[in-house]
Point group: C2
């Protein structure tokens, strides 16, 4: 269970065992990038697996730290990549869950100052959470003399490819108020781009603000448990009858373990079998919680278990 | 000595003891902001103290993490604030020392990619270190398609009030090359501004890039020892006959202790006597090295000791 007894982790799942596992589970959570697709290409067999799980009466959810798109754009991407009938309520992004947290948990009274992309803005707007966007282009404005909004009661930070010094400095000024919430969509440190390039992730901007404000952000995305709490409270899902499928040990597997779910590492993304076994067999105990219960090569390994 | 036996630290220095201390020392290092001036105002008595120290044959140096100005602009500031005859060679800034490090220690073969202000650019130019400035305004350019300079062999990061996403992302791309040096002027996390505002410091941008690159920067400014090594190698200064005067425990006092200097905390800046005594009397040993040997209210306390 949940990597607690690490010497039993990393078990290879083949057809019959997977069938047994799925009989016990009512709900399957998938990470997206590296698991069911890579960029604009579906992982082979993934659309069929998702379709068959639903056909067999399982609940399926997609849990992603990517905060750049609103959920409606994910619905389009699922459709474009051959996944049938994936609906908005099955998609949990860190942008959407940040909006839910601000509205339903923090019940923030005032505006949210946002460092982030369209995905965050649209989810906040849809959730009815008032916000101000960080300025991108105010010629000549400096942190010495720019206006600050006295209604700001929270700072939300996520991936923002238009971030600049003034945006960061304004966030620091708001965070001087200890009653101003400090929220982050996720801590993903960087992302690979084509041709060997990389881009800083949300986590890079989060630590910049944590350092400058000498505060710690509340993080919404995996491995924080909040995204599962959103699913559990909305759909009455039982963790003991749920399984998390992901490609990153420190994000997806840790998330699943923390939430009390069985965990499956798929080797189609970032983490490798050697890393998982190293955590299982290593002398340090702090990584034991990142050891997956099961391992598959790709989600296509689910297909035989779902055949009738 | 240097806070090693912490129960003996934080000794109040009065006239006769200060006179005895100064008899043993040939060299006095001062931090600037919060020690000899606050913003555009000299600390009362500071110009006289510096003048008298020199008159008594002491070597005086100014050691600052502020990388925004070139040393020539510090010379003007000293003069403007009433300090007589302070010359450029007595001023060690993190921008100047970064240029020295790149030229004389790293002997970097290629260009330096800079995230920083004029202070850094001018010192690099003066040291003859070739560099490229991070773009501030390239309409439409993105990290997907912008040009990267194949001659870049080092990334230097300091305070930059024109930093933006593309600058950070380009630095990350350069840092993918393990042979590309990763240098930071300093780790100051934030700076106070007028009217309760704050601005992120170099340290905020440094951790952003450390997170996104999964690398650690080599830091030039205090508390790293390199600025003292610059002084020692250029002027043959003996640490046992030198004293460091500063206002920040984790920066100035730690720097002095690490370099083997006696340390004096002045209470005219950031750190308080309570913090220093707390470190001295606390149960954790990791802060013992930040305990100053001596404490004064302001550098004006040196005046009676320097009178004839």
């Amino acid at each position: 269970m949940a990597g607690a007894v690490s010497s039993h982790g990393c078990r290879r799942l083949l057809g019959p065992q997977l069938r047994d596992l799925l009989i016990q589970k009512h709900c399957v959570l998938f990470d997206c990038d590296g698991v069911i697709w890579n960029g604009e290409k579906a992982v082979a067999g993934a659309p069929e697996v998702v379709g068959l799980l639903k056909k067999r009466g399982k609940r399926v959810f997609f849990v992603t730290n990517n905060c750049t798109r609103p959920r409606e754009s994910y619905v389009q991407k699922f459709s474009r990549l051959g996944f049938k009938d994936v609906v908005q309520s099955e998609i949990l992004s860190s942008a959407y869950c940040s909006a839910v947290y601000l509205r339903d948990v923090a019940k923030v009274q005032g505006k949210v100052y946002v460092i982030g992309c369209d995905g965050v803005h649209k989810e906040l707007r849809e959730a009815g959470v008032p916000f101000v966007e960080g300025e991108t282009d105010v010629p000549g404005a400096t942190i010495f003399d720019c206006p600050l909004d006295s209604d700001v009661r929270a700072v939300l930070v996520g991936y923002d490819d238009k971030v600049n010094f003034l945006k960061l400095a304004k966030a620091c000024c708001y965070l001087r108020n200890p009653d101003c919430l400090f929220l982050a969509t996720d801590r993903d440190p960087w992302h690979p781009l084509p041709r060997g390039r990389v881009t800083p992730g949300s986590g890079s901007l989060v630590v910049a603000l944590e350092t400058a404000s000498e505060r710690k952000a509340t993080v919404i995305g995996k491995p924080s448990r909040f995204m599962f709490e959103c699913i559990a409270s909305q759909f009455g899902v039982d963790p003991a009858r749920s399984v998390m499928v992901g490609d990153r040990l420190e994000t997806d597997i840790l998330f699943g373990s923390r939430c009390g779910l069985d965990t499956v590492l798929t080797l189609s993304g970032v983490s490798t079998l050697e890393q998982a076994q190293g955590y299982r067999d290593g002398r340090t105990t702090d990584k034991a919680i990142c050891v997956p219960d099961y391992v598959v090569d790709t989600v296509a390994d689910f297909l035989p278990a779902l055949a009738r």
